[in-house]
Symmetry: C4
Subunit: 283 residues, 4 copies
């Protein structure tokens, strides 16, 4: 079904008065090698601005200074420090792995530690090169075979790698079959993103557009997703995912009336206001 | 008693024409290990924006670049350099210790140097993991036993650790008893924060809310507190503390009409304007 | 001919709905030694804000933190790592080399690797000290002798070095002769910039002014140029170059009604809005 | 005489159309040790925003990342690299030395290299701990004994150190005598700053106030001064100095109607607009 604005009004709740940051979730984001540090920084900033209670970034130490410069609210761990990484995973409500992770051996190692330590009912969003690495390594795929809360966020080429379905064959029936066998949610990012939910439902996004076609746009979606999933537990997982995906493109669409191209950092700045505006306009 | 807006109008004074930065206090903030650098950066930025005359941050050297990127007005010292740290403590009007300090052995060492060098009538705000470390180490507690100007800023779990009172038993009578024996001010951060003053007075905050439930919110309170305490010496310590606590939540509350979640860095940006606005509206 | 506002309306196209970031080009910017890191950071930020799909910066590792702090959308490679640099060149649609590169031996080495690996029909913008290095080293000049898609962006002194024509002799006839023998586009930056196109056409800019006379202004022109060239392939190369040069000064001119001096970072902030405004006003 | 707003209208000139960044001066700022990096970063940012053509910062290498993050327009050199520092001095139109320099032996060394290499008619602004170091070392004082273009910017305690005049004895007659023997301009920063010009004239500032009493405020004055001196050569040195000092406090005064305390970084953001506004309102 087509996702519409009312999903935001349904999912985003006014916060309970007597709640604290622990109620709004611990999000751990793993990624950002020496080349792609900006990806994980933007993902973390998106999670912070969307309202996640506590946000930790596991990344290459080279990204520490820029992380704190851009988003001092986020905490840091060195992703090569296995003890810290394992501990952080064990206490996280949602784990994001992949933004700017890269695909070399050290990235693979980090991914291996991550997937090995995620418990079978811990929610994990797998993005970017982490999808590619999993596509290429059956041993990685097996590590999450029993976890029914995996969310993949591939673009079409990454989906081709993961599913084996060539881009021009990626139609709902075929995608659904593969997604079912993967036992995971698949958010297939493209012009009008399609979401294949664990529940078997297929949802579509009719908003968003080419003004979003810029590097880093997918990274911030992971941050918004993580924060929605961990905050709004009164709604079903399907609804939370739909709402996050919708919000991301909805902000971009609004900005596209002012900007020729919409940058990820532009969207981040509008998250807090848009979330409040949407629920304030609710009847 | 419930703290109200007029505490700001009472405490915040128009500055004396013939005053200089030395009149508005030297604030030293100690914290920020390699994982939690953002905490001390935000605390320092809050102190600078609240009007402290000179702000120095003693932190892990890894946080130097991001500190200057976020708040070039603040000065830096390496908190592992005992000579520098000791010298800085001796010239500070107010010391904040704890934001992002961590709880490992090196953090304990820094805290030990800090508490050993604070003179008995030097004001010291103890926050975050510094509270936890003191809870666990009687030797640390003894270092400040004779100082009547200690302010603890625990959240409920930290107060449980420090006081031994389980969260569900934390009622005024019991808290007050423990606070009296600690010989310190206790700002117990929770939904509607309660302040147990040295004077025996108990004050309550009726504003603030769950839109503030995000990591780093407590860190900036320490910076606001330090700057109020060191600037507004015409008011009593109780009044200055109440005013700082009120301002912090008052700004957040104002922002909550525009933002779904209010971030620490959002509050920092509004401090200067709000402080002027409040006293300008005074009759 | 004099370039006018309608060049923007002609070149800037509404994006095709079904397009992705790959359609808007991979821009590689090479420069930024330890002294002039800001130059390449600003160039990259300009490219990102102008809408380039994917922007990578090859620079000195010392510039990594500030790059991500200023523009997290950009990716990083160490320009002394020949394998990474060569790979990045091979996949780039447009290469910019020179902003903040410096003129020492290590800079020369980076330039040599760059020019050796650019294929004969790959577009390359050569700026700043890269122009000076080429002027002084025939071996470098030879590396690009067969490439008809080279764009030089010298200011008058750099053009004197490259062409041998003293500044006071730099008139169209003489410049054109030299440009023809160079087999390259020459954007001669001065009060009212002149563009000598590969096609033999000479175009002039009548806007812009001394409010732009500040360090870094030329750096961001390279970023805007790269993003226009790679995005708007329906227009001829001459048109895309003219449009980029015009936009850069047009924004500066607009800002000059508000600011005494217009900084490069001020212009960057206005690119997205100006691009949309210009095409929205189109009849 | 009291300096008034019309000094800005007299000194700030519309730029000549056919001018380039070389016409607006090369400013070199030397300072920023590992503890006080923010000082030199803010000074540089002020110079850039005031319109200096090319701004270079000689500082501790630890400040490189934050310098580029805050003001990518500025260039960097390591102030311990004597060859680079000497070369930069030789090509600078104005040298600022002192903001955040510190007073240890390495700072003294940097100051020694600086003063030894400044030519006798090269303008040099000496600020902060550089004043203290000169006060304590006759050998440093001698290095600039023949330079009639030295500007000292002490606050009252620094002036006491340099002049030997205790703060409560610092009245015009006595100050003037000392300033004459120093053969330098003295900008004595205090509530209502007084300027003792080389020409023997004494000028006073009646604006500014305690809202400016915050660390770093003096640092940005040096940047504004340097940029005025190097840009507006049609006015006398006295006039340019008066204008810079006035602008700095004028912006702070304007901001004091909105902010309780005015931070250096707030002032920087307003320089460009204020400079244009002032000359636009000119009849």
């Amino acid at each position: 079904m087509e996702i519409t604005l009312d999903i935001l009004q349904k999912v985003i709740k006014k916060r309970e008065p007597n709640s604290h940051k622990g109620n709004f979730g611990r999000v751990l984001l793993i990624g950002g090698n020496i080349n792609y540090g900006g990806a994980i920084i933007m993902a973390a900033s998106a999670a912070v601005h969307t309202g996640a209670g506590l946000v930790t970034v596991a990344t290459n130490k080279e990204n520490l200074s820029s992380l704190h410069s851009v988003v001092p609210e986020a905490m840091f761990i060195n992703f090569f420090d296995k003890v810290s990484l394992t501990t952080a995973i064990s206490t996280a409500d949602v784990v994001v792995v992949g933004p700017g992770l890269g695909a070399d051996n050290r990235a693979k190692e980090v991914l291996e530690v991550t997937l090995s330590n995620i418990s079978d009912n811990q929610l994990c969003i797998i993005d970017g090169s982490a999808i590619t690495l999993i596509s290429e390594n059956d041993s990685l795929k097996e590590l999450i075979a029993n976890n029914k809360k995996i969310i993949f966020t591939p673009h079409q080429m990454e989906w081709q790698r993961l599913s084996g379905i060539p881009i021009d064959k990626q139609i709902d029936d075929i995608n659904l079959q593969k997604q079912t066998s993967l036992n995971a949610t698949v958010i297939l990012k493209k012009h009008h993103t399609t979401i294949y939910h664990q529940s078997g439902t297929i949802d579509n996004l009719a908003i968003g557009g080419p003004f979003m076609a810029t590097g880093g746009m997918g990274d911030i979606l992971t941050g918004v997703l993580a924060a929605f999933i961990t905050q709004f537990k009164e709604s079903s997982l399907d609804e939370r995912i739909n709402a996050a995906v919708y919000l991301h493109s909805y902000i971009a669409e609004n900005l596209s009336h002012k900007y020729y191209v919409t940058l990820p950092t532009d969207i981040i700045k509008k998250i807090q206001k848009t979330m409040l505006k949407v629920i304030s306009e609710q009847k």
